[in-house]
Symmetry: C2
Subunit: 292 residues, 2 copies
C-alpha cells in the first residue's frame, strides 16, 4: 500500500545513535536513542527498533570522517575516528546486509545541513553551511539544494587557523594539534578554562578568543564556498552572547573584501535543533527511493 510507505533515518553519533521512522511526508512515527558502544551491540538494538516497521528506504547521517568515494574500495567505511571499535568499520555494508533496501549514507553534519536547508533555518535557499561547535567542530555543506561531496566530503572543523594575538594554548586535536577544532571545540574551551564551558563567566576574555576562531573559520568558508547562510549550532553555541561576538569579528576580519549577505541573515541559529540530522535522513531516504 503506497499510502503506508515508511522511511527510516539513523543519526549515528559518537555518544548515541538515534533511529526514527516517518511516513512519506516526513511525519515522525517512532524514534529511539541507544548508546554508542560497539557496532554489533548498537546496530543490533537499532535493528530491534526497526523490525516492526516495513521501511522502504533509509537515510543515515554518521560521525566521520567516512569514505564516500564511490570508486574507493573502502566506500561506506568509517575512517579515522578515535572510537576504535568503529575505526575502519564498514557501516554502510553492515546496514545494507541487515536491511536490503536503498540506503543513503552521508556525514551527520551534511545530513543536518540538508535538513536545515529543506525544512529549517535555510529553507528556500540554494546553499548553506551547518557548523556544530560541540565535542568536536564539524561542518556540513549544501550547494544547489544538494549535499556537497567532493573527492572526500568536507571536513570543515580541521582547518589550520591564524592565532589570536597572545593565544598560546597548545591545542588538543590528535591529528593537527592546533587546528580549529583543536583550539575552539568544547573540550578545548574546558581545558583553557579549567572548568566546563557552560560554567565560564559570560564576560570571561576566553569568549573573545573563541569568537575570533569561529569567525575566522566563517570568513574562510565564505571566501571558499560563499554559501547563502551559515548556521551555527552545537553545545558551545548555547552561550547566547557568543553569536553577536562572532558576527562582529566576521565583519572585522573580512574587512569588506567581499560581499556577504546582511550579517544577521547570514550567520544564524539552527531551527531544527536536535532534529536536523533525522529530518535530513528522511529526506535522503525519500531521494534514494526516487533514484531507484
Amino acid at each position: 500500500m503506497l499510502d503506508t510507505l515508511m522511511l527510516g533515518a539513523i543519526e549515528a553519533g559518537g555518544t548515541k545513535f538515534i533511529a526514527a521512522v516517518s511516513d512519506q511526508d516526513l511525519n515522525l512515527i517512532d524514534k529511539i536513542s541507544v548508546p554508542t558502544t560497539d557496532p554489533n551491540q548498537t546496530l543490533g538494538k537499532i535493528a530491534d527498533f526497526f523490525s516492526p516497521y516495513s521501511i522502504a528506504s533509509m537515510g543515515v547521517g554518521c560521525f566521520g570522517p567516512i569514505d564516500l568515494n564511490l570508486s574507493s574500495s573502502t566506500y561506506g567505511y568509517i575512517e579515522s575516528t578515535p572510537k576504535l571499535a568503529w575505526k575502519d568499520f564498514n557501516i554502510l555494508g553492515a546496514l545494507q546486509a541487515q536491511y536490503r533496501i536503498p540506503i543513503a549514507l552521508n556525514t551527520d553534519v551534511n545530513v543536518a545541513a540538508l535538513g536545515e536547508l529543506k525544512r529549517g533555518a535555510a529553507a528556500g535557499e540554494q546553499s548553506c553551511i551547518y557548523i556544530t561547535v560541540g565535542t568536536g567542530i564539524g561542518g556540513g555543506v549544501v550547494v544547489d539544494r544538494q549535499i556537497f561531496n567532493g573527492y572526500h566530503h568536507p571536513e570543515l572543523g580541521h582547518i589550520a587557523v591564524k592565532r589570536f594575538p597572545s593565544d598560546t594554548f597548545t591545542g588538543i586535536c590528535p591529528y593537527h594539534t592546533d587546528c580549529l577544532e583543536g583550539l575552539a571545540s568544547g573540550p578545548a574551551l574546558a581545558e583553557r578554562a579549567h572548568q566546563a564551558p557552560n560554567k565560564i563567566a559570560k564576560d570571561d576574555p576566553l569568549w573573545k578568543v573563541e569568537a575570533y576562531y569561529l569567525a575566522q573559520a566563517i570568513v574562510t568558508y565564505s571566501l571558499i564556498l560563499s554559501p547563502a547562510k551559515i548556521i551555527l549550532g552545537g553545545g558551545v553555541m548555547q552561550q547566547e552572547h557568543v553569536l553577536a561576538m562572532v558576527k562582529a569579528s566576521v565583519n572585522q576580519q573580512l574587512n569588506h573584501y567581499i560581499k556577504i549577505p546582511e550579517i544577521d541573515n547570514y550567520i544564524i541559529r539552527p531551527q531544527l535543533k536536535n532534529e536536523a540530522a533525522i529530518i535530513g535522513g528522511f529526506i535522503l531516504a525519500k531521494d534514494a527511493l526516487r533514484l531507484e
Copy 2:
C-alpha cells in the same frame, strides 16, 4: 552561415587584456593583447580588434573580485580592486552595450579552471581548483564540470593562515595584511628576499616558508572543497623545485586525516599555460549560445 559561427573571449587582467576569436570548435582565429590602462581606452582597443569579426557570443574572465550575484544591483561590476580606474566599473554592462550578443562573465581564475578542466590538466575530471601564485594569489573552482559560484565567487587567495614557526614577516595585503596572498604572493616573496623572486637561490630557506603556506592553503581547500585535482600555476610556480616541496608539506600538514588522491596526480602543473582563460572563455561563450 552556421559553419562560420565565431566565438569571442576576453581575459581581462590587471596588466593586460587579451582578446581572441575562435571558430565553433575552439580553434584560434585571431588574438590580441592590449595594456590595461583605463576602461575607455582598453575596451576601445578591444572593440577595434573584434570589429572585423561577427562573433555570436563572448566569454570573459576578469580580474576581481567582481559582483556575480544576479540579484545584486551591482551585478557585473568590478569590486574592490586597487586599480582605481576600474573599481566599481560595470564591465559587463560596458561590454553588453558594445556588442549586444550573449556575454558570460566570470573571474579570470574561474574561467582558467574551466579551461583546464575541459581541455587541459584536469580533462576528464568532475572538479578541480586552479591556483595562480603570481602578483596576487587567486583560485578558480570547477565542481560537477561547471564553474562554482556561490553567493559571491570564491576568493581563495585571501584566507587567513597559520604562521610558519618563526616567520615574522608582516605581510602586504592591503585588506588583511597577513592573509595567504599577503604572505606568499610574488611581491611578498620579493619583499622578504629584497630581490626579485626569480633571483632567489633554490636552496634559500624562504622556499620552505613559501611551500608551507601554499601547502596549508591546499590542505584547507582539500578539507573544504575536496576537488579531484589541484592545478598550481602562476609566475612563482615557475620555480620548478617548489612543487615537490609543496607536495611534501601537504602530506605532512594533512597528516592522513582525510584521503586525497595520490599526490602526484593531485597537485599538478597547468597544461594550457597562458591559454587557459582564453580557452575557458570560448567554452563559456559556446555555453552562453546554448542557453539562449
